[in-house]
Symmetry: C2
Subunit: 511 residues, 2 copies
């Protein structure tokens, strides 16, 4: 069965090539501006919401608040400004499968719209790569750039701010959106507008030139900014013409701009290994420090929507509903008399008694318990786990693939048990394993199985065995989901014991 | 596969019959007294250590401290006084399998020594049943009665106390062992000795007539008792001649004594249904309230071993080792800076940061988090779960059977996945299921499978399917453990969908 590790560079650069080839597609004239595009930055790694987030399953993929995950909410948010065809998703190979899975509703529109960095290099290179792609598609492209993992409430006010931003971007400005501070936060950068020189006013909003950016201040300074009322949090949401940001990158980050030209050339030539090699050599730099803080074209629009970057467990309280006792509760929790706590369970039962100001987070393979005011220290726990090589920092027991997902139910000496779910029409690669046999028992749906030269179907309650060294393939020919239990036997059960002969999703056939 | 529910009364009364038939076995003349027997009371239910304990998996079966479970430690403790053949285990049908499994080391010696109550009726009926059995085996029998789930440290002092107790029991006394109080505990009964009238002194110990028993006192009274120095906690450990306790039961609980005569007659006649019916009608009464507090023959030996009834999570601190920060830690815990907390994990990872005086207990299907000083309220949580019909109050995901054990890995609509472990030589009943098919994949050892008329063996990596309505049997013919993954499919997957044709363990063949 296909247990494809998510890190092969061929896949990602394959996407890059496809993007380059389809670059001349004409933008549709819909939405507030026919040249407006959204770029969702979805490359973040995930330690601060551990154990719910993992290195390979960061915050953007989580259902933090509401019925949808943060990236799904972000997608819906930008659809208020642009059609799905004009949304680019910037991410890394390790996360692309999970994101494609979560954005499956817009699968067709997004098919060629993934901008995949071989490896994260902070925001400036990711934005440069996306800007290069957009300007090829549309020389007039205006980019709304936003992280995939923020919570924003008030979509109409968000759209109003974007509409004003589009106007200012048209004048060659680099727009940032400023959040009125609600507390003396020392974890954010601040922006001071030049309030005497409003650039434009529209629908109760105004844009100003940036007087200055301030890096994370100390507590005293933060308190002063809060009192002053004329400082804003830097939300990390931006808007500009692709041409403008490329100009400013060339001016303030000439080395990066030069490297990006070589990288673009490698992409257009289909030289995916070269693309990867060059990109990995880029120096990580943020767009804030690399461009915004240096450019005289920076402008800020103070906004009036509710925003949170939900940077740690505690910040949930800013955005999630609380019960009468002030608890944020999710999942299978039985509580007796707790208050002001964050209680996150999943399908396992969590029982709490008399907690105050605590965080309890339970996942299938790891549980976190700490006082709310120490929840930011979860990063130290993740570091300890990483140093020990513990799998719990890296990924969840459920892993998403382009064809569906699998969940490890148990592993032990010489065996592994998984529940495998294949989407309707999904098909794993034609593959073989050198060191393991596999047994499949269908528990829902219909499986079409290729085993050696035989092709046959299995329905609920039927099973088959795949000997090692035997080419095989699993497919869901039905219109509902296929679920089966897989039992692997063998001396080595790593995901990299796989030889692929054919794959529907462009994944590497080399091993 | 055999998924035998543990509550059928036939099984238990079958044991009772066997005991009655072998009643005349002569005691071996070893140990301090050739007439001394130990009766381990192992019928307790398990809410106070939830989620580690369950209704069907109470505290005595837990590894609370050290390498062995409490009942294993209790068994070893009494072996310092009597040989294994003279140990009786008093329990209920629901727990007998788990106890036999844990006491497997003494399987042969204990084979006929389980005294199984059809249903718990507190200690007086259980003791009456055991005393009746013992007096049939040996009219001179002396009984050491002790709960299976206490922690005692200091085995030589324990043996010394028993040796003195045997002397006093020979004089017709009902001996109780008194624990010098270490705190003003309001949860125990207290005993006041008549210190002016020592009955006997030996090896630094003395026995006294009981001046009076005191029910659980209020805090002020408990503080006075502690200060007074002449009050002792009632440990619930007793010693007496079987004849003496039967006399005193007849005197102080004549109704119970009468009923026990009918019950004994039913047992001897092999009328197991009648035995069950009569026993279930007994009024629950404790030996303390029913006899000890009323009898003028009661005596107390203040002891000098360390004792704890580990009545709740907090009491662990009395007996378990603590780390430098005062934490009691067990299992896969990653901690940062916690102190004075009880952190119990199993194979899942538990990460804790900055906890003080907390209890965190993690099990495969449930987690408890509460402040130490509220850990006794876990009972309320268990009650809530029981009212909701939640399985987490009842049993663990791993269930023990006479042939081995099984662990539920996952269950969902129409399917269930188990890991099944069969002891060397173990054999499940010949059985069939009306509503489910089963698939077995061997992951360790060798399975001998009967499926319809075929008998065949499977080794690691081999599998087979058992259609519904097909008589089948699973057996481990090897000398090592057999492990296999079982996938069940069907509309109904309850353990009671089973028709048994033959069983090695005397379990009911009727359904």
């Amino acid at each position: 069965m296909g247990l494809e590790a998510g890190g092969d560079s061929d896949r990602m650069s394959g996407n890059g090539q496809r993007m380059a080839r389809t670059g001349q597609r004409a933008p549709r004239a819909s939405g507030p501006s026919p040249h407006l595009y959204a770029v969702i930055l979805a490359g973040g790694s995930g330690t601060r919401f551990w154990p719910l987030s993992r290195h390979l399953y960061p915050k953007q993929l989580l259902r933090i608040i509401g019925e949808e995950t943060l990236i799904q909410q972000t997608m819906r948010r930008v659809l208020g400004c642009v059609p799905a065809e004009r949304v680019l998703v910037s991410t890394t190979p390790a996360q692309a499968d999970s994101i494609r899975y979560q954005l499956g509703e817009w699968k067709d529109a997004l098919r060629e719209n993934f901008v995949i960095e071989p490896e994260g290099r902070n925001t400036a290179p990711a934005i440069a790569l996306a800007a290069g792609e957009l300007i090829t598609r549309d020389p007039e492209a205006v980019m709304l750039v936003l992280p995939a993992d923020h919570v924003i409430q008030g979509s109409q006010r968000f759209q109003a701010a974007v509409a004003l931003g589009v106007q200012l971007a048209g004048q060659g400005r680099l727009i940032t959106f400023g959040i009125p501070p609600s507390r003396p936060e020392t974890g954010y950068g601040y922006i001071q507008p030049n309030r005497g020189k409003a650039l434009m006013r529209q629908r109760g909003l105004a844009g100003y030139p940036v007087a200055r950016f301030v890096e994370k201040p100390d507590a005293k300074t933060a308190a002063r900014y809060l009192k002053d009322g004329h400082y804003y949090w830097n939300s990390g949401i931006f808007l500009w013409r692709a041409a403008t940001i490329l100009e400013e990158l060339a001016r303030h980050q000439p080395g990066l701009a030069r490297a990006m030209r070589s990288i673009g050339a490698a992409l257009q030539a289909g030289a995916s290994d070269e693309f990867s090699r060059l990109y990995r050599r880029l120096k990580p730099v943020s767009i804030d420090q690399g461009v915004m803080e240096r450019s005289h074209r920076a402008a800020v629009i103070p906004v009036d929507f509710t925003w949170s970057d939900v940077g740690n467990w505690r910040s949930l309280e800013e955005v999630a509903a609380r019960d009468k006792a002030g608890n944020v509760v999710s999942g299978k929790v039985v509580d007796l008399d707790s208050h002001d706590s964050i209680l996150y369970a999943d399908r396992r039962l969590v029982a709490t008694i008399g907690l105050s100001d605590m965080v309890v987070v339970d996942t299938p393979d790891a549980t976190l318990v700490c006082p709310k005011n120490r929840s930011q220290e979860v990063k130290a726990v993740v570091d300890m786990l990483r140093q020990r090589g513990a799998p719990e920092h890296l990924e969840h027991r459920t892993v998403f693939r382009p064809w569906g997902s699998y969940t490890v139910l148990e592993e032990g000496s010489g065996y592994k048990v998984k529940r495998v779910s294949v989407n309707p029409g999904g098909r794993l690669s034609l593959q073989l394993h050198h060191q393991r046999s596999e047994h499949w028992v269908v528990i829902a749906g219909t499986a079409r199985v290729t085993c050696g030269r035989r092709v046959f179907e299995l329905t609920v309650g039927q099973s088959t065995g795949i000997p090692k060294e035997t080419p095989h393939r699993l497919e869901n020919p039905g219109s509902g989901h296929l679920h089966l239990i897989e039992v692997q036997n063998g001396p080595y059960l790593g995901e990299d014991d796989i030889v692929r002969f054919h794959d529907d999703y462009g994944r590497s056939l080399k091993r």
